[in-house]
Structure formats: structure tokens, C-alpha cells
Symmetry: C2
């Protein structure tokens, strides 16, 4: 059975650990903070937790580095190569940060939004894979297939684009909902009233491209409504409303259609 070490205990590491625990042997969890490593290890019945990179077990088949993007290279540099498969899970970091440090390496990026509060089922998540060589790619794809039905080869450039697109689609769309929540909270209106609207907006994407399904005052060039909304907003909400309305208007020159 495949033996895996998970380096990290954050949002991504948590869902990967739960996903892998059912299909292979997770032998150790590392975190800079031992209680975090121990909590995740306990949650998936993994026998070892550590906060010492030099105490990693040497004989695992794969080492998954699921830590903040800006410390991946530090982790790799701190541990000598043991000939196993080493991979990171970042959508924005390249594969080259392993070069010269590892013989067999790769990237396995789950294009999904994770939060520590909720373990995400990974079966339908798209994983994008890249590896140092063909044999390692096969190993990486096999590991990915334990987690999801969608494991797709993608080089760093495609992965970067997918990551930027996911930031817009998920992080920034979610921030729009946070800003809406702020607007409603001021009048003690519940955010939940927006959920049917949000769901319908998403459902449209099954049939129409987002550009085709765009609605609202900006695409209608309805400046009266836009100005009245701007007058109700302050701080960065006003600036964001203005910039996004302009962005929509610029992509949709005025015609004389009615609402």
C-alpha cells in the first residue's frame, strides 16, 4: 500500500489527508505547530505527528508539501532528497522549485476552494498534474486518481491561468457576497434572502456563458440607477461598484434594447 507523508495541516492539507486516508497509508503529518499536526493526525488515524522537518520518516513513497506557497521552497531545501516522489499542491508555484533538490518531483493541484472549517469531498474536484519525467507522472497520476476522477496533465503556464481564473471565479465572487452581506447587515436584512438569486445566477452557467447571462444596471447602461447606488455606498464598496460597472459597460457598448 502507498505510504504518504503530508507536510502541512492547513486548508488543503486537511482535505487531502481525509481524502487519502481511505485509499492509502498516511504515515505522518508535519506542521510547524505540533498541536495542529497532532489534531489532523488524530482525525484520520495517522500514527505520527511532528513539528520537525528533520524527523520526517525516510521511507514513504510520496511526500506532499501542502503549505503556504511562499514557504514550499524552504521546506524542500530543509530536507535532503530520499529518492521518493515529492510534490506540492500549489496552483501558482512552478515545478522548477524542486529542480536540483529532488530526483522525482511534481505538482498535483486541486482546483478547488478549501477552508479548514469544512472537509471538501474531492471526487469531483479537478486535479492538474505535472511531473519531472514520465515514470514520475504515472506515479503522480495514480496518486491523484486515489483522490479524484478528474486528474488532468497541465503545464505550469496552464496551471497559472487556471489559478488566476479560480481566484476570479471563487475568491472574488465570494468577496462580492461578503460586500452584499455588509450592505444588508446595515439594514438588518438577512444575507439568506440572496441565496435563491445566487443559485439561479450559477445555474445559468450550465446553459449560457457568463458574458451571455450578464444582467443588471451596468449592462443596461442605466446611469441613473448606478449613480443612486453609488450614493448609498462608501469606502471601497463605492470604488469597487464603479470599477466593475465600468468594466461591464466597456464590454457591452450601448444599444437601444429595453430592459
Amino acid at each position: 500500500m502507498e505510504k504518504v507523508v503530508i507536510i502541512g495541516s492547513g486548508n488543503v492539507a486537511t482535505s487531502l489527508a481525509h481524502g487519502l486516508a481511505a485509499r492509502c497509508e498516511v504515515v505522518q503529518i508535519y506542521s510547524r505547530q505540533l498541536p495542529h499536526a497532532q489534531a489532523l493526525a488524530d482525525a484520520i488515524n495517522c500514527p505520527l505527528a511532528t513539528d520537525d522537518l528533520l524527523a520526517l520518516v525516510p521511507d514513504a513513497d510520496a511526500y506532499i508539501v501542502a503549505v503556504r506557497d511562499d514557504v514550499i521552497a524552504d521546506v524542500v531545501a530543509a530536507v535532503p532528497d530520499n529518492g521518493a516522489l515529492w510534490l506540492h499542491t500549489s496552483g501558482s508555484k512552478g515545478i522548477d522549485l524542486f529542480k536540483g533538490h529532488r530526483a522525482h518531483y511534481g505538482v498535483l493541484w486541486p482546483m478547488q476552494s478549501f477552508s479548514r472549517e469544512m472537509v471538501v469531498a474531492l471526487d469531483d474536484v479537478h486535479f492538474f498534474a505535472e511531473a519531472s519525467d514520465e515514470a514520475t507522472l504515472a506515479h503522480l497520476m495514480a496518486l491523484g486518481s486515489m483522490l479524484s476522477r478528474h486528474v488532468i496533465e497541465a503545464d505550469s503556464d496552464k496551471r497559472r491561468r487556471l489559478h488566476v481564473a479560480s481566484v476570479f471565479s471563487c475568491n472574488f465572487a465570494n468577496h462580492m457576497w461578503s460586500l452584499a452581506d455588509e450592505v444588508l447587515s446595515e439594514a438588518e436584512l438577512p444575507f439568506g434572502a440572496l441565496l435563491p438569486l445566487i443559485r439561479t445566477t450559477v445555474d445559468k452557467l450550465d446553459r449560457l456563458s457568463p458574458a451571455q447571462s450578464q444582467t443588471g444596471p451596468a449592462i443596461r447602461h442605466d446611469n441613473q440607477v448606478i449613480e443612486s447606488h453609488l450614493a448609498m455606498l462608501d469606502g471601497d464598496k463605492r470604488e469597487i461598484y464603479r470599477l466593475l460597472s465600468d468594466s461591464i459597460m466597456n464590454r457591452n457598448p450601448l444599444d437601444d434594447n429595453a430592459k
Copy 2:
């Protein structure tokens, strides 16, 4: 049976016409463009279509003005009062534009995103109602109940806030998906790969507030990733990425949590 005239043939008018046709008698459709009025009338088996406001039938029980926000007042001014219930369907226009022109009037705003390409089922849409007097409110609520199970009284201020919140939640979130589509198209990657991610992001809102479920490089203050994304973007996508990242960072001061 309630007799209704629908003034307008656009996105909102189309879904309202289909929703009402099953429950009451839609006796006439008006549009500035006769072929549009005729097409919608034909679609719901309504006997009359017109492009002449002075040719509206005089004996309907309710007149629904579902036209561009900035021409509602023109429509109201162009037609003399006949004592029936007159209402508009705008989230941002007040009730006062009927004052002095009508005896019985109101607003019935469906908080939903409409497009002409797709008739929206209205049963779960939240409608917000306001009327000139108690008897008219009862009439308006009864009319709304023919369309939806969620008809809620809300004054103009609450309605304006709901409308602004819906612009953020729906129009601007959808624009984020358009921008993601642009980023992927440049590398011939399909937008559909993002749909599982988008659905999970929405599903989280059933359990967490949007602020609680925020993820991504901005909330992690991951400036390396943010800068690498900015370097890949141009035009207003770069400006939007910067502004929204700052907006998320400002609401989430840095701490030392790992990813």
C-alpha cells in the same frame, strides 16, 4: 379572474408574463416595438399586443409597468389614471413616481436576475412589496402570491439596499466569471472546468457566512502569488484584481496562520 396588462416585453416582463399566464388573465402586452409585444403575447396566448400606450385596454384590474427604470415615469405620465392598481417592478425606483398620477399604486420587485434567453421559474423568487394604502397592499400581495411563495413587505429604503446587494451578489459575481472565462480562453482552456469550484463556493454559503468562507491569496496576504497573477493580467482585469485583493486584505489583517 384577475385581468392584468403587462407593459414591457423585456427580461422581467417575459418571466412575469409566463408566471402570471397560468394563474390569471393576461389581457394585453405593450412594447415600444410591436413585434416584441406580439411575440410575447403569442408565447402566453394573450389576445392583444400593442405599441400604443393610449390603446391600453381600460378595464384591467392591474397594470404592471416592467420597463427600463428610466422610462417608468414617462409611461405613467403618458396614460391617464383609470382607478386600477398600477405597479412597477423595479428594485431601485421608489413608489413616489406614481404619486399624483394614480390613486392606487405600488411596487412588486422580484429579487432575481432575468435574461430574455431563459424564462425563470418564480415560485422561489423573493418578491418585495410596497403599496399606497392598506387595501392596495392586500391586492398587490394577492397578485404577488400568484407568482411566488415569498412575498415580503419592504419599504423603498430596504428595497434599495436589497437591490444594491443583488448587484454585488449576482451581476458582479457573474462578471467575475466573465473575467475568468477571458483568462482561460486565451489558453484555450474551457470555462466548464471551473463549474465544480463555483458550485462548492456557493454551497459553502449554506453553512458559513461569505466572510467566514473566504479563501485565496489575498486573505493569506500571499503577496508573491498576488504579484505573479498581476503580472499575467492586463487592462481592467489587472486593476480589478488589485482592488479586490486590497479589499479582502483590509478586512482580514495579517496573522501567522499557515495555508
